[in-house]
Amino acid sequence: MTITSSPIQRTCPAKPTQVYLMGTCLVDSFFPHAGMDAITVLRQLGVEVVFPQGQTCCGQPAWNSGYEDEARAVARQQLAAFEADIPVVVMMGSCAGMVHLEYPDLFAGHPEEAQARALAARTYEFSEFMINVLGLDNEILSIAQPPSADQPTRTVALHTSCSSRRGMGVAAQHMALATCLPGVTVVEPERVTECCGFGGTFAVKQADISAAMAEDKALAMDATGADVITSADCGCMMNIGGTLDRLAEQGKARSIPTQHLATLVKEALTGYAAATSGDAS
């Protein structure tokens, strides 16, 4: 039984000298280079990064499935791992939302409530931190990496996850970040605000419905003509990219590589060729 707690209020801090990076479990195993790219970006912009080796998962899968005690036990470990009072930059909107929006409810009435609320208040989604806190824009990027003639131009389809859009409310920051990248034309699919059908355990528990939603989103992505799909949510990217792979096998769509927003920002800062990239492509 959980109690709905009052919402967390916060303002954007001045540029900190040091932040935590919350990699998230999906990035950890499936998109680790995106995490390293985020570290490179943050350091290049003058922010030192601490990556706690004690971090695991935010606890969201169990929380959304109704297993509250199991979620809390895992979340408690994150309270310990991200203990110091510095901002936490999260690689995924979904996990940022778990910490920022759900931890206060998850720990309401528990001894760690104050600690959880404090962590929630200093937790930021990646694009939110880049735009709202670091003020990343086209000018900063062009100073770091002056535009050159051999700059590749790419059409990038932006997928803003439901948790980034509605939970964290950072759709504008996603778009701002994507559109300030040099050589990138940003496109969005039809019915841009509609869920891709991932939804964590939903994709397994209601597989048929999830697959139908994923197919619609994948076809809409294909129709944008994009060279790359980008997002700050790797569950969605695995869902959309994986569905496109299958549709491509059936000749119904193109297979399109997926890249985390952090990887695109790193490319813009350090040069396309030098980018590590390629986690899931």
């Binding site: 039984m1 680790p32 030192e48 695991t56 499935s65 199991e70 939903f202 994986g242």
Partner: protein, 517 residues
């Protein structure tokens, strides 16, 4: 849409309509996942719902052009509903007092069955054998038509959508637009094969909307004139004035509540609001959120039976206030916002799951997000034990919560119900009120999986070991992992985890105290 060049044969059309009738009954006899799959595989149905969702979302957007204004209006709508709920017991008493003073007879029904018995009792006492009904979701919830028909009372739905659903022997697939699952051709076939004109002839086949409406109107007009009683729902019951407010677009609601000598209104106890000052806010939100209309064609304010010297109106007006689980929702620490609902249907119009499977897949009176929240809590719908799959049919994408005009936190409520459904026995005994069927979805297998998951993720060493096994063993990963890979490629773990890459790059793992702010 092409109109058939030659008149289709009555027999052929009857066969199609009977088949659809049979398909509906067949679908409803199955469990949730089977119903959802049947809907997903039905291209006609998919097209109907996709088109309806897109249309209704667009209409709503067009009447809320200013985001800031909309959010302010939603704040006021939420506040109005919360004010009502904060004083619910008092308001209900006040409502009863003022209704009685206005000559409206008030009845209280704790269960669906009791509500049916009360309504049947009133009809019986007045020798009423024929009833015309305005649209009422509560009457669907208590399955009033079946109850009355089994007792020899003819119950005719007079809302166009409800009328068609009744002709088809189906149930509404949407709370505002009951027949949204059928296209024009299907409705033309239905009217032609199942409806008869006042002269007893088959209704001529036509796909023209005006013809379809005109034919139904001619049939209904006669029924209104002859009916012994009218039954309606209520959108708001105003406590201070003892007024029943009813919105509708077809005028059938007004006919049901004024033409027959007896009017019985039926509604849930949560529909009460304090005063007329609560009405403008909610009446601004309701039609805009439901159908994208600024106001409905009819807004009926019913304040009592025909008075001495008046020329029309029913001789008796009754209100049946139904609980059917609502008191329990009211007393639940987290689920009370369920009762804020004004039944506009915006949540289902914006739900990507509803847009794919449609209303009938839910197998409940109320489909879509609000249906997922209300149904397990109703006294008459089998609780969480019978609705476990339904509450999992949600990706928690939040579109419903964003659309709700009175800010019901629908995704939170769905998540709360999931927690109730899998709660261990110990949680059930902490003295708080629980939803019927708490713990019923807890299985040993699933709870062990989550306990194992929790153990691995709360001990960093175990977690890092497990990712090490996964990344090192990525070449050994199975090529298939159903159901994920039924429609997606297999995700491949990276060669090294981020934990390992960060360690290799000497990224610090802890903040040293002097570096802290």
């Amino acid at each position: 849409m092409s109109t058939p060049t030659s008149t289709p044969s009555f027999i052929e059309l009857t066969t199609i309509v009977d088949q659809e009738d049979h398909d509906f009954a067949d679908m409803q006899s199955r469990h949730f996942k089977a119903r959802a799959k049947m809907s997903l595989e039905n291209d006609t149905l998919r097209a109907s719902f996709r088109g309806a969702s897109d249309f209704l979302m667009g209409k709503r957007k067009s009447v809320f052009p200013d985001d800031e204004e909309l959010e302010a209006l939603r704040d006021r709508g939420e506040a109005a509903r919360q004010r009502s709920l904060a004083n619910l017991p008092d308001l209900l008493e006040q409502l009863e007092t003022n209704l009685v003073a206005n000559g409206i007879q008030v009845h209280w029904a704790e269960t669906a069955d009791e509500a049916n018995r009360i309504i049947h009792g009133i009809l019986d006492a007045n020798q009423a054998r024929t009833v015309v009904k305005g649209k009422s979701m509560v009457s669907e919830e208590i399955e009033l038509n079946h109850y009355l028909e089994a007792r020899g009372i003819e119950c005719l739905e007079s809302d166009m959508g409800e009328y068609l659903v009744q002709l088809a022997h189906e149930a509404p697939s949407h709370i505002v637009m009951p027949v949204i699952h059928k296209n024009k051709q299907q409705i033309a076939r239905l009217m032609h094969t199942r409806a008869t004109t006042p002269d007893g002839e088959a209704v001529p086949y036509s796909e023209d909307v005006d013809d379809l409406i005109g034919n139904a109107r001619a049939i209904l007009r006669q029924k209104f004139q002859r009916a012994d009683a009218g039954i309606s729902g209520v959108n708001m019951a105003i406590a201070e004035t003892g007024t029943l407010l009813l919105v509708e677009n077809e005028g059938n609601g007004r006919m049901c509540t004024t033409a027959p000598p007896l009017h019985i209104a039926v509604t849930g106890i949560e529909k009460v609001v304090q005063g007329l000052s609560d009405v403008p806010e909610l009446l601004t939100l309701l039609p805009r959120s439901a159908t994208g209309q600024l106001i409905t064609t009819y807004v009926n304010m019913i304040s009592g039976p025909r008075q001495k010297g008046e020329l029309d109106g029913p001789e008796q007006v009754h209100l049946v206030l139904v609980d059917n689980g609502r008191s329990k929702m009211f007393n639940h620490p987290n689920l009370q916002p369920t009762l804020q609902c004004i039944r506009c249907g915006a949540c289902m119009n914006h739900c990507p799951v509803y847009a794919r499977v449609g209303g009938h897949a839910y197998g409940s009176t109320y489909p879509g997000p609000i249906g997922q929240v209300v149904t397990p809590q109703l006294g008459s719908a089998g609780g969480l034990a019978a609705n476990g799959d339904m509450i999992n049919a949600c990706s928690l994408n939040g579109a419903c919560g964003e659309a709700c005009p009175v800010r019901i936190p629908l995704p939170d409520l769905i998540r709360n119900l999931r927690a109730e459904a899998v709660a261990p026995v110990a949680t059930q005994q902490n003295g708080q009120p629980h939803v019927n069927g708490t713990g019923s979805q807890r299985s040993l297998g699933e709870s062990l999986i989550w306990q194992g998951w929790s153990l691995v993720h709360k001990v960093p060493f175990l977690y890092r070991s497990s990712t090490r096994v996964m990344t090192r063993g990525r070449g050994l990963m199975p090529g298939k992992l159903a159901p994920w890979t039924n429609t997606r490629s297999m995700p491949k773990p990276a060669a090294r985890s981020l934990h390992e890459l960060a360690r290799a790059a000497d990224i610090p793992s802890v903040v040293t105290s002097e570096e802290q702010h």
